[in-house]
């Protein structure tokens, strides 16, 4: 019976772990610690402070080891606004007819390239020498990233993360 229970437990663990990555390591203070260069779904995250002080930790959706900024390239955006369009013409008998219609007028505008902070997936403060854990509120909708996964703490820390690569 004990062996059967052990076997069932190991099967359950194997089923849960299938396709997921669990990794742990040290987070360098004040640096981008790139965990993944591809989008991931975060299933659980645990951060333990080793600096001895309150430690602000930010998890970014980026794969850059050097910056927490993302350069948004310039692009052309579109929109529309309501305006009056006056149509005026001289009819066949020489009478000037004028109509005013309310229309939506489309426009485009250039948006310059900008440098913004990369999207923050999670932002927290880990109290000194303590551990903070995060799991999604709904396991069916894990927190996901598009460009990568990077953790940047102010002070030194260690982490354990379980995530599912999206691609």
């Amino acid at each position: 019976m004990k062996n059967l229970l052990r076997f069932i437990t190991s099967l359950f663990i194997a089923a849960v772990a299938f396709g997921q990555v669990t990794t742990s390591g040290t987070l360098t203070a004040g640096s981008n610690n790139v965990i993944s260069t591809d989008g991931v779904a975060i299933l659980s995250l645990q951060i333990s402070d080793t600096s001895g002080s309150a430690n602000a930790v930010v998890v970014y959706d980026t794969d850059s080891a050097s910056t927490t900024n993302i350069v948004r390239p310039a692009y052309t955006s579109a929109g529309s606004y309501q305006t009056n369009r006056i149509v005026s013409f001289t009819n066949r008998v020489g009478v000037v007819q004028t109509y005013t219609n309310t229309v939506l007028y489309p426009y485009t505008s250039s948006v310059s390239a900008s440098t913004n902070e990369a999207p923050r997936v999670l932002s927290t403060v880990v109290t000194a020498n303590s551990t903070q854990s995060f799991t999604p509120v709904n396991v069916n909708t894990p927190l996901s990233t598009t460009l990568g996964l990077t953790i940047r703490p102010v002070g030194s820390a260690v982490y354990t993360i379980t995530y599912q690569p999206l691609r």
Binding site: F18, G19, Q20, D38, G39, A41, D61, I70, R72, P73, A74, Y75, T76, S77, A78, G79, S80, Y99, T102, P106, T108, V111, A113, P119, V121, V139, N140, T141, P142, L143, S144, T145, T146, L147, Q164, L166, R167
Partner: protein, 428 residues
């Protein structure tokens, strides 16, 4: 050797390399490949092109007057009645004929004569035909994407915008496209993170709702009549995209929570229409873009390790990692006839017929048909050229004309989402 004593060379063996042998045994291996199926080329109704009408088509569509009020308050009979004057306008669309040539390198007769693998030309012909078919599909799809005035961003994170947003649009040319790489890169940054930005069941329904309410899209099939009690206006829409979107429905939270017990998701997968009126069409090479807004090539030649015997050039065509891992995906939600495919028809008569006086000249074929020609110049090196008068060389050529004209381009709504490869692993 004569008169050897028993002790002399008693253990001699015959040299194993004494006689001729083939170094390798060559066999042609048959490999099954997925056949390309066209999606976009046959999707829209054909509009036959009339010759001698120029190269620019202007389509005219009468537009009804808009319903400009929700409240009606006429005067009493004892007063002078108000008048409502109704007038309508026209709108126009333009489409242009485009053309593209396809060809193979020049084939010399010698490989077909001496090489082990026969049927080299037929294989090259099929290969060229696939490139032509995919090119035509890509052309239609790219124009549909570029000329769409609105797009749907799954779970748009930009405050105040909403998911259904206006987009820059226009005809894409060979040198520029209104929706450029910078535009796609910015759209990807808007895609939400809350539910992963993936186009799941609920988001598909949301696209349909936005399309009906905001865009007023007429259904793809079936012009709906008056809905009865406890019913809404009928009519189906078409969602075209990568297979992962449809496969993911078998693991979708909403479906799992509400599916009928008879739906077998163990030995089968989700099947049928999505939420009453969304039909799904899988694409073989769906549209995917990278973080910087560029579109990676779908397939790539991978260099394989060299063999001791065999060709020094060993390549295998595989899905490109940059393509399969691209974070951004584009699906298309469509209603009724957003575009028409221009059917160019035959070339002008003097160029398309062979009569006695034109017998020496090549007939112009621009319907994409692949033909084998020996009507080529050969480069002999050192700036010397000669005709192929001895017929030593052949070349596969094809000339394709194409065109597309919008009817109601807002009836094609591109949906930008964040991709997943294996949704079964990311949805519990």
């Amino acid at each position: 050797m004569w008169d050897l004593t028993p002790a002399m060379q008693a253990w001699d063996q015959q040299d194993v390399n004494q006689f001729n042998r083939l170094p390798v045994w060559m066999a042609v291996q048959q490999v099954k490949r997925l056949k390309y199926y066209s999606r976009w080329r046959r999707k829209y109704k054909k509009l036959p092109w009339k010759p001698n009408m120029g190269s620019l088509l202007q389509g005219i569509i009468p537009e009804p007057s808009p319903k400009t009020r929700q409240v009606a308050a006429p005067r009493n009979i004892t007063e002078v009645a108000y008048r409502t004057q109704v007038s309508h306008y026209e709108r126009s669309n333009t489409g242009r004929v485009k053309h593209q040539k396809f060809e193979s390198p020049q084939f010399n007769f010698l490989p077909s004569f001496q090489d082990f693998r026969a049927q080299q030309i037929p294989f090259a012909t099929e290969d060229l035909m696939k490139q032509i078919a995919t090119y035509y599909d890509d052309f239609i799809r790219w124009q549909a994407l570029q000329q769409s005035p609105f797009v749907y961003i799954v779970n748009n994170t930009t405050a105040g915008e909403g998911n259904y947003i206006p987009a820059v649009y226009g005809e894409a040319t060979d040198t520029s496209s209104p929706k450029d790489a910078g535009w796609f890169a910015n759209m990807l940054l808007k895609v939400g993170a809350g539910d992963g930005g993936f186009l799941d069941f609920r988001q598909m329904c949301a696209v349909r709702d936005y399309a009906e309410v905001k865009a007023g899209i007429v259904p793809w099939s079936g012009l709906p009549g008056e809905p009865g009690e406890n019913n809404v206006q009928q009519g189906k829409y078409m969602l075209t995209g990568e297979k992962t979107l449809y496969r993911a429905l078998a693991f979708d939270t909403h479906i799992l929570q509400n599916r009928p017990l008879a739906m077998n998701l163990l030995n089968s997968t989700f099947a049928g229409t999505i939420s009453e009126n969304i039909n799904f069409l899988e694409e073989m090479y769906p549209l995917r873009f990278a973080e910087d807004g560029s579109f990676p090539q779908p397939e790539i030649e991978v260099e394989l390790p060299a063999l001791t015997y065999g060709s020094t050039m060993r390549y295998e065509v595989m899905p490109n990692a940059a393509y399969v891992n691209a974070p951004g995906g584009v699906a298309f939600f469509e209603g009724n006839e957003p575009y028409e495919d221009l059917e160019i028809g035959p070339p002008p008569a003097p160029f398309s017929q062979k009569n006695i006086s034109m017998d020496k000249f090549t007939k112009l074929r621009w319907n994409g048909e692949v033909t084998l020609t020996d009507n080529i110049l050969t480069n002999l090196g050192s700036n010397q050229f000669d005709t192929n008068k001895y017929g030593e060389y052949l070349q596969l050529i094809s000339y394709c004309t194409m065109g597309i004209i919008a009817k109601t381009s807002r009836f094609c709504l591109p949906v930008i989402y964040r991709r997943k490869i294996a949704p079964s692993l990311t949805i519990a």
